[in-house]
């Protein structure tokens, strides 16, 4: 159990716990903060897997911009503890059961998978994550998706105007 594996299990545990806390917490702001904690954990994973650029981007974009957006939305909707609709308990139960089944199914399948038999997380190998290789690759092979994603941003922009702006 080298230091990395300890770190790996710790980070995974942290991510799982905070994800569950996101669901459970009554106060929406708390759940957003827990979500931020999830992102930190996942960035930790990225670093472990030698994808430093991805880790930083994840932190900046997700934790930075999107979480802020979520907070604004929550503030906008003026949500506080009491107002969210009380779902009847059997709905929650059904949700848990079905989610659990899916989790169990996926877990068993992935565990049995031949490719995954004895390998644990590939720690600290692979240099793809490094910023240099990533940049080279992005601007040589994956140019087309890079340009097309700009269309995505445009439509997001138009969307913001259409929905956000009061005419």
């Amino acid at each position: 159990m080298s230091a990395i594996q300890i770190l790996f299990w710790f980070l995974s545990g942290l991510a799982l716990v905070s994800a569950i806390m996101v669901l459970i917490s009554k106060n929406p702001v708390h759940s957003v903060l827990w979500l931020v904690m999830v992102f930190f954990a996942i960035s930790g994973h990225y670093i472990l897997m030698n994808a430093q650029f991805l880790a930083i981007v994840n932190l900046i974009v997700y934790a930075g911009a999107i979480m802020v957006l979520f907070l604004f939305v929550i503030m906008l909707m003026n949500l506080d503890k009491t107002s969210d609709p009380q779902k009847n308990w059997w709905m929650k139960l059904a949700g848990v059961i079905s989610g659990g089944c899916l989790l169990m199914e996926m877990a068993t399948l992935v565990r049995q998978a031949a490719e995954m038999k004895e390998k644990t997380v590939m720690m600290k190998e692979g240099s793809i994550g490094l910023i240099g290789n990533l940049g080279k690759l992005l601007f040589s092979d994956y140019v087309v998706p890079f340009e097309i994603s700009s269309v995505l941003f445009l439509s997001a922009m138009v969307g913001a105007v259409v929905i956000g702006k009061k005419n």
Binding site: F72, G135, F139, V151, L154, A156, A160, K165
Partner: protein, 116 residues
Amino acid sequence: MGASSLIVLFFAAIAFSVGGISIAKIFVKGVKNPQKGQAYECGIPATGSPWHQFNVGYYLFALIFLIFDVELVFMYPWAVVVKQTGLTALIEILIFIFILFMGFLYAHKKGALKWM
């Protein structure tokens, strides 16, 4: 140093700060009463709940900030490899920036950036 020590350092910092606050919370049996919530010395007494509805402009700004934030993130790897990839990468990033600039122009014209 390596990545793992970086993470350890990072989490040590968090632990240090959270530890301090929680110790204060655990050992201090603070008594909560409305007067304590009053303004310290002078000022209008606070009425109503601290929660008040945010203006929609914030949401709009956050969205536009997000779009240009991601744009910036894409520029970062470009900056790193600009020497090796040379001209082609430059054209690609210029196209990318141009399109998003179109977006910006549009948002500006549409008054999305005006603060109410």
